[in-house]
C-alpha cells in the first residue's frame, strides 16, 4: 500500500448521526446542558426542539441545568424548553429579552433557579472548563453583590474575584459547516459561546447547515477543531431563532 492509499484509508472516523432524534439521545434527566447562541444568533433551534419532542413523548429529559447567555425569548428554543417544564435552573448573564415571559413567569413563581454570571466571566468559566483550569481570577464583579461569598485576592495592587470553571454533560451547538471529523465553522456572529462550549462539555452535539468530507474545510479556516466534537447532524434548512420570533412562531 502506498502512502496515498494510507492517507485515504486513514480517515475511518465518522461523527455524523442520521437524524436529530439520535443526536439528542444521550441527554438525560438532571444533566447540565450548554446551549450555543447569543440571543437568536447561533441558537441550535432544531436540536432544542428535538429535545422538547423527546420530553413530550417520554417525560425525559427533565430537571436540566441550562447554560446560555440568555434565558430564552418568546415561545421557541430555550423559552419553549422552560415552558415545557424541562429546565430546573438557568446559568446565564442576561435572562431578559424582547419577550422573556417564559423565564420571568417561572422565576417570579419560584419554579426555576438562576445563577447570574457576568457575561465575560461566563465565557471565561466555560473556556476554563474546556481548558482544564479549575479556577481563575477576574476583576469583573469585585466589590459588587455578584461577588458575595467568593474568594478575593490582590495582584499588583488590584483586587480580583476567584471564579470556577464551568463544565457540562452535553453541549448542543449550531455550526455552518462541519466535516465528518467534527471540524466546524460558524456563520458571522453566530460563533459567540459555541467554540468554548464545544470544549467544556463531555459530549458535544452539533447541528450543521452542511456536512462535508474531511479536507473540504481548509484547515486554515477551522474554528472548532473536531477533537471537541462528538456528533454532527445535518440540518440543511436550519431556522434562525430571531427570524422565527419575529414571525411570532410558538413551538408547542
Amino acid at each position: 500500500m502506498n502512502a496515498r492509499n494510507m492517507r485515504e484509508k486513514d480517515v475511518l472516523m465518522d461523527k455524523t448521526v442520521p437524524d436529530l432524534n439520535s443526536a439528542v439521545a444521550g441527554i438525560e434527566d438532571g444533566m447540565v446542558v450548554m446551549v450555543g447562541g447569543f440571543g437568536g444568533s447561533g441558537a441550535p433551534i432544531e436540536l432544542i426542539h428535538a429535545l422538547i419532542d423527546r420530553f413530550k413523548a417520554t417525560g425525559s429529559p427533565k430537571n436540566l441545568t441550562v447554560v446560555n447567555n440568555n434565558a430564552g425569548n418568546g415561545r421557541i428554543g430555550i423559552a419553549a424548553m422552560i415552558d415545557a417544564g424541562m429546565v430546573a435552573k438557568m446559568i446565564c448573564s442576561f435572562p431578559r429579552s424582547a419577550d422573556p415571559r417564559a423565564f420571568t413567569e417561572k422565576y417570579l413563581a419560584g419554579e426555576i433557579g438562576l445563577e447570574l454570571v457576568p457575561q465575560g466571566t461566563l465565557a471565561e468559566r466555560i473556556r476554563a472548563g474546556g481548558a482544564g483550569i479549575p479556577a481563575f481570577y477576574t476583576p469583573a464583579s469585585y466589590g459588587t453583590d455578584v461577588a458575595k461569598g467568593k474568594p478575593v485576592a490582590e495582584f499588583d495592587g488590584k483586587h480580583y474575584v476567584q471564579e470556577r470553571w464551568l463544565k457540562a454533560d452535553v453541549a448542543i451547538l449550531k455550526a455552518e459547516l462541519a466535516d465528518t471529523l467534527g471540524n466546524l465553522t460558524y456563520r458571522k456572529a453566530a460563533r459567540n459561546f459555541s467554540p468554548l462550549m464545544a470544549a467544556a462539555a463531555a459530549r458535544t452535539v452539533v447541528q450543521a447547515t452542511r456536512i462535508v468530507k474531511p479536507g473540504d474545510i481548509d484547515p486554515e479556516q477551522v474554528i472548532t477543531p473536531g477533537i471537541f466534537v462528538d456528533a454532527v447532524v445535518e440540518v440543511a434548512d436550519a431556522k434562525q431563532e430571531e427570524a422565527l420570533m419575529r414571525q411570532g412562531v410558538a413551538y408547542a
Binding site: 447569543f38 437568536g40 435572562p95 429579552s97 438562576l114 447570574l116 457576568p118 465575560g120 466571566t121 477576574t138
Partner: protein, 223 residues
C-alpha cells in the same frame, strides 16, 4: 434649570473625545447613539461583546441578517476590515486593556468612580450582561447620563445607593449639564453649560465639585 443638553447632544459631546482609530465599546441603549456623531476625519473601531469588531450602522429594514447582531441583539452591518471571534476572545479584549474607551449609561455614579448601572434593586429578574466586565480594562471608562433623575435627584453622588456594577472604575462623566473627570476620588468640573452658574450646578450634584482654574463651556450643536 434654564436648559440642558438632549441625549443626542450628550452623545455628540462624548463622541468628540474619541480619537481616530480608537477601539470603542458602546453600552446597550443610549450609549449606542455615540456612534452617530463621530467627528469628520476620526474613525473609531467599534467592538461588541458577542464577537464583532468594526461593525457599522444598522441595515435597512428588511435587510437584516439575524446572525449579524450586536450585544443589544440589534442587526448590524460590517465595515471593511471587520472580524469575528468567540466570546472568550471578546472579553479578553475587554478585560485585557485592549479597548481604548468604553461608554456606558448609568443610574448613579459616585465621586470615587463607583458605578451603579445594572440593577435598581431586588425586584424582578436580575440581569447583568457584560457591564461588570466592561467597566474593567478599557483605558477610559466614560459615562453618559442626564445630570439628575426624572424626579430631579442627583445621579452624581457621594456614594452609590444602588447595587454596584464596579468599584472605582469611571474616569469621565458626560451629563446634560456638564463634563467632569473623576480624579483622586473627586468630581473635577471640566465644562458646564454657559447659562448655568457653578452654584446652580453644585445644587444639582450630590457630591462637592472640584473647580479647576479653567472651566470650559459645554456647547453642542442643535441635533
Amino acid at each position: 434649570m434654564s436648559q440642558k443638553l438632549s441625549n443626542a447632544q450628550i452623545a455628540w459631546r462624548a463622541a468628540q473625545d474619541i480619537e481616530d482609530g480608537a477601539y470603542v465599546n458602546l453600552g446597550i441603549g443610549f450609549p449606542e447613539m455615540v456612534a452617530k456623531f463621530q467627528p469628520p476625519g476620526k474613525q473609531a473601531i467599534f467592538h461588541t461583546e458577542n464577537g464583532v469588531l468594526n461593525f457599522g450602522e444598522a441595515p435597512a429594514e428588511g435587510e437584516e441578517d439575524w446572525d449579524l447582531i450586536n450585544a443589544g441583539k440589534k442587526a448590524i452591518t460590517l465595515r471593511p476590515g471587520a472580524a469575528f471571534f468567540h466570546h472568550a476572545d471578546s472579553f479578553a479584549m475587554v478585560r485585557g486593556g485592549h479597548l481604548d474607551v468604553a461608554i456606558l449609561g448609568t443610574y448613579e455614579v459616585a465621586e470615587n468612580g463607583d458605578l451603579a448601572n445594572w440593577s435598581t434593586g431586588p425586584k424582578g429578574v436580575p440581569a447583568v450582561g457584560g457591564a461588570m466586565d466592561l467597566v474593567h480594562g478599557a483605558k477610559r471608562v466614560a459615562v453618559i447620563t442626564d445630570h439628575v433623575t426624572k424626579d430631579g435627584k442627583p445621579k452624581l453622588v457621594k456614594k452609590c445607593t444602588l447595587p454596584l456594577t464596579g468599584v472605582g472604575c469611571v474616569t469621565r462623566v458626560y451629563t446634560s449639564l456638564a463634563v467632569l473627570d473623576i480624579e483622586n476620588q473627586r468630581f473635577v468640573l471640566r465644562e458646564k453649560l454657559p447659562t448655568m452658574s457653578v452654584d446652580e450646578l453644585q445644587a444639582l450634584t450630590g457630591a462637592e465639585l472640584v473647580l479647576p482654574n479653567t472651566i470650559g463651556d459645554l456647547v453642542a450643536p442643535e441635533l
